[in-house]
């Protein structure tokens, strides 16, 4: 039997604020980070997106001019984690970094103080490592929109199989750039309004920014969350469209649930990008798994799609939900928008369906390249 691995702490930097509890409070109050943005650096037309106003937070970094905006945000989050949980920066701590595009803005913006090589992720990771003096080099992965959840899986496996590591920080982040906006625009995937996951009238996704981190430990501390099971399977179907049968996600959920011992789920935190095909695919996979009655939300209606951070961001907020025994409504949903009806959490129904205690949830994610992942988390 492999050693259990727990989530013993977390941190968020989002447009809605600093810290997990603060973000949980904001979204329960119905606050939405997605706004109309007119910025010719990002796009020639107005977009709806959720962008971090870094001017509020970028104060406490040594030599900030040596770091890109994304690096500074990641440094802030790492520093907050190290301080809050007294995490040693010695050989016993592993850092896993999740990002889809990292410093891609360096490809097209002249930041004279920053060496152009920092567009390469290993160079960026080394800069972050050296800022803190971590003994171990960062483990960096880039696996499309499942990167954040996959990074938890990778860190768990490394902790379980390596006595050298006692704990890990898993951190994910991406920023909105013209590079990314133009690409999603070309796919006609962006909604010209705040997105509406799983809703009948959904028009596509919004891009968002977040830095999200979890602290993994082999020691079960008070209030820790057990990672009960993880499944990750490719659709083997299409590189830019989800499977019509939800095959990879179906297999991922089945495996995660099998490892977890098929627990009753109190809620599901879906990927829910609010594109027509993604949400339909997820509903099919959940129907095949017999999970359509479980309360489900997507948090994309608050934060947009935060790419390499999204799996981590939504996991951290799911954990807040467990800790406060309170379900988070799925922002932007009004009417059934998938062929199989789902039990979408809304402000109206969450009162009646609210458990006295929440113990277990499933987090799913899917991405370009046909990748999928499902993870079961449980209070201990």
């Amino acid at each position: 039997m492999k050693a259990a691995v727990f989530i013993a702490g977390d941190h968020l930097i989002t447009p809605l604020g600093l810290g997990s509890a603060a973000n949980f409070g904001r979204i329960l109050a119905g606050d939405v980070a997605i706004q109309p943005i007119e910025d010719t650096d990002l796009s020639d037309h107005r977009i709806h997106a959720a962008r971090i106003d870094e001017n509020v937070w970028l104060d406490n970094i040594h030599h900030p001019q040596r770091y890109t905006r994304l690096e500074q945000l990641i440094i802030l989050a790492l520093q907050a984690m190290i301080d809050a949980y007294r995490i040693p920066v010695d050989h016993s701590t592993l850092v896993v970094l999740s990002t889809t595009k990292g410093n891609i803005t360096l490809l097209h913006r002249s930041q004279t103080a920053i060496p152009a090589e920092r567009v390469f992720l290993p160079v960026m990771a080394d800069a972050l490592q050296h800022y803190f003096g971590f003994e171990n080099r960062f483990i960096t992965l880039s696996n499309a929109c499942i990167s954040g959840s996959l990074a938890i899986s990778v860190a768990r496996q490394l902790l379980q199989h390596n006595d050298k590591y006692q704990q890990a920080i898993v951190i994910g982040g991406d920023e909105i750039s013209r590079f990314i906006v133009s690409g999603f625009d070309a796919f006609q995937a962006l909604a010209d309004e705040p997105c509406r996951p799983f809703d009948r009238d959904r028009k596509g996704l919004n891009l968002g920014e977040a830095i999200a981190a979890v602290y993994l430990s082999k020691t079960p501390t008070i209030g820790a969350i057990n990672i009960m099971g993880i499944g990750s399977y490719n659709d083997a179907n299409h590189i830019s469209g989800p499977s019509r049968t939800g095959e990879g996600l179906y297999r991922s959920i089945r495996e995660a649930m099998r490892q977890a011992g098929d627990p009753a789920l109190d809620f599901i935190s879906a990927h829910g990008t609010a594109t027509a095909y993604n949400d339909e695919m997820e509903a099919i996979a959940l129907q095949r798994c017999g999970l359509t009655a479980v309360p489900v939300h997507s948090l994309k209606g608050y934060y947009g799609h935060t790419l390499g951070a999204s799996g981590l961001l939504e996991t951290v907020l799911g954990i807040q939900s467990l800790k406060h025994d309170q379900l988070i409504p799925s922002m932007g949903y009004a009417q059934q928008g998938t062929n199989h009806a789902l039990n979408i959490i809304t402000p109206e129904n969450q009162g009646t369906e609210r458990n006295t205690t929440l113990g277990t949830f499933l987090k799913t994610a899917s991405g370009f390249g046909g990748c999928n992942i499902a993870t079961v988390f449980q209070k201990i």
Binding site: K2, T100, K101, G102, I104, L107, H108, V119, F120, L121, P122, A125, D126, R137, I139, T140, L141, S142, N143, A144, L150, V154, Q157, L158, Q160, H161, N162, R178, F179, S182, G183, D185, A186, F187, S232, Y233, N234, D235, A236, N237, H238, I239, S240, E247, G248, R251, G367, F368, G369, G370, C371
Partner: protein
Amino acid sequence: MDKHRHSIQSYCLIRDRTITVNGQRYLDVEPTAALLDFLKTAYRQLDIDYPKFHKMDGLSKAIFIAVELIARESGPYNDDTALVFSNYSSSYLADSRHAMDIFNGTHPMASPATFVYTLPNIAMGEISIRHQLHSENVFFIFDSYLPEFLVPYGTAMLDDGKTSGILSGWTEVTDTRCDVFLYHIGKTGGMPHTIEHLKRLYQG
């Protein structure tokens, strides 16, 4: 450290403009050939009909060819064969092409066909489709080929029963450099899945 429970069943090395499979020369073109011409020659020599190949970016094409050649030695792959790849420059080839598209002075225009390849794991999606692999994929970004990480990582996946086999290795493809070293790890085969042995094979 040289005790091993798993074996390298076969491997492919694409270095500069030369391809070898299990140490045997498969293709060798003049070192000055353009990357995409070289990969097209390799594709033609495979003698298969797979039109999707022509839509792929250079990274996916090189990986596709290596995985095709390995399949001829130790395939067909089991449906659960996991993919654990790594490189230095992620999807830089496609990234720079997309950047050219959108910052082109006169007619900036993003192309979905280019943009989709601006993620390194797309190549893993391509070979999952080709070989019908419903499996775990992870794409690491490292400074250099790192068997010190990949060997224990792959061993742990196999020991945990996550998969019966793995395609793993290093896939660095840029305009100036082609350095692809992929291998098929499984239960049988004469070559040990160890750091030392893989370092020797990677030397070529």
